[in-house]
């Protein structure tokens, strides 16, 4: 806010306070941003001719999307969707089963330092690489098909679930843990009766959320050979069966939407 220059005279104009107070930093960000944008756009090699050429093609392309063809000529559509759903379920379960020990190990208040560092390393590695890259390697190792997708999604789940579990354990109340320990509980009893009840509601909600994410990701691991609806989608693109592709996209959107609603409903019910 600009204040009045002289005492006594009431300010007659007002200017909005800038978002960044330090004017040097503000100008640095503006100028730096402009230079970066110019450099970025300059090196992007946008081929306008190709875009112009592509736009009528886009028209034809979108036309061939409609009407979506749900008739499923090759009998792979529903099979692909079923495969995606099974893959999402099993990889969520396996991923969570793997996440629990790692999450316990990555909680600073439970684990000794070397276990903590090891488990944090596993989490960081799994978080860094997108599921697709994990899927590429899983396909190389385990061959084409849903098993590779299952491995990739399970590994991806670890980075998400173990990290949040560890953070939740670190935030849980220490006094309850102490109370249970004072009764002479052993380590497993201690975890089961003091930590587990505190983190359980949130973790159930997160596992449903992860199921939702895994289904979404299962739609793309197929592009690199990991099975599921993504494989069907990729095939229909390669075969120029755009009406089938449109049908698949619509089904994916509908399933994701319904899963999102059920998962948010379920999470409210659990908490």
């Amino acid at each position: 806010m600009t204040d009045s220059s002289e005492t006594g005279s009431y300010p007659s104009s007002w200017k909005k306070a800038p978002f960044i107070k330090n004017s040097f930093v503000r100008w640095l960000i503006i100028v730096g941003g402009a230079i970066y944008l110019a450099a970025a756009l300059g090196t992007m090699n946008i081929d306008l001719e190709r875009v112009k050429e592509g736009l009528p093609r886009a028209q034809r392309f979108l036309d061939s999307f409609f009407p979506p063809n749900f008739s499923d000529n090759r009998g792979v559509l529903w099979e692909g969707i079923a495969e995606s759903i099974w893959m999402a379920i099993i990889s969520t379960v396996a991923g969570i089963a793997l996440s629990i020990p790692i999450g316990l190990g990555a909680a600073r208040n439970l684990a000794p330092a070397w276990v903590y560092l090891f488990c944090r390393g596993v989490i960081a590695a799994s978080r860094t690489f997108p599921e697709i890259i994990l899927a590429i390697f899983a396909v190389k190792l385990f061959g084409f098909g849903p098993f590779a997708g299952f491995i990739a999604l399970s590994l991806g789940t670890i980075g998400f679930y173990a990290k949040l579990l560890a953070e939740d354990i670190e935030n849980s109340s220490a006094s309850q843990a102490e109370a249970v320990k004072a009764t002479g509980a052993n380590w497993f009893q201690w975890i089961n009766y003091s930590i587990q009840p505190q983190v359980m509601p949130r973790m159930i909600g997160l596992s449903i959320y992860r199921l939702d994410i895994n289904f979404r990701e299962s739609a793309v691991v197929g592009i690199v050979g990991g099975g599921g609806i993504g494989a069907t989608l990729n095939t229909s693109f390669s075969r120029y069966e755009f009406d089938t592709a449109a049908a698949i996209l619509i089904i994916i959107i509908l399933i994701v939407m319904s899963m999102e609603y059920t998962s948010s409903f379920f999470r409210k019910w659990v908490q």
């Binding site: 379920i89 697709i132 739609a219």
Partner: protein
Amino acid sequence: MPAITNNGIETWRLRTSKEQWIRWVCWLIGLAVIMYAWQMISEKTVWFFVTDAPTQAADIGSRMVPPKWSYMDKLWKPVWDTINIATIGTIIAMVIAVPVAFATARNTTPNIVVRTIGLFIIVSSRSVNSLIWALILVFILGPGVLAGTIAIGLRSIGFCAKLIYESIEEIDHTQVEAIEATGASGPQKMIFGILPQVLPTIAGVGIYRWDINIRESTILGLVGAGGIGLQLNGSLNTLAWTQVSLILIVILITVFISEWVSAKVRGAII
């Protein structure tokens, strides 16, 4: 209190019999679904390849070291492209997401039709993965950075708009009322009453999404949409494993740096 009577002595139990039965049935159903899912997956698996995996892993692992450091010369441009795809994609997304968020928030848009349209944009953008957007856009715009940028942008609209509209719905209404009391018009109320309250969220969401987009733009090249994924795909197809390991290291470093930058900037804003 649930209790069990055994030889006339009441013993405490955590759950009543009915609760216990319900739990048991739920577990049974859950396990049955999991077993069925596993069976469906294992039916389609060639187990020979799976049992062969450790040898394969050792083989690929031995081919991947040492990384071919000299290949780095050819990677600077793809890394730069990857960062540009993420940054410009995020900017496009934010430019579209902010109006969509205002159109979707209950307190800024009383009209139910507009709100439904906004929600539809958010959901459809969130449901389709950026790789699928890229797959479609490569057909339309041709392979290259542009398709990737727009794919990232389209994918991010939903995410950003959702977080922004939720924070618009949670603003403090007394401030808006105070602005209204000065005789401000609708747009003025929005600019001086609502926007300052959500600006930190908008900036924070943008930075957060940028960080996610860096990660996503590393793979867009797999379908031809530019960035380092193109090199990764090429190296994988030509079985140049020493290049693959170098690319993975580069991705790892890029992601770590972007995560660090994002955490620092968000810490400074909030």
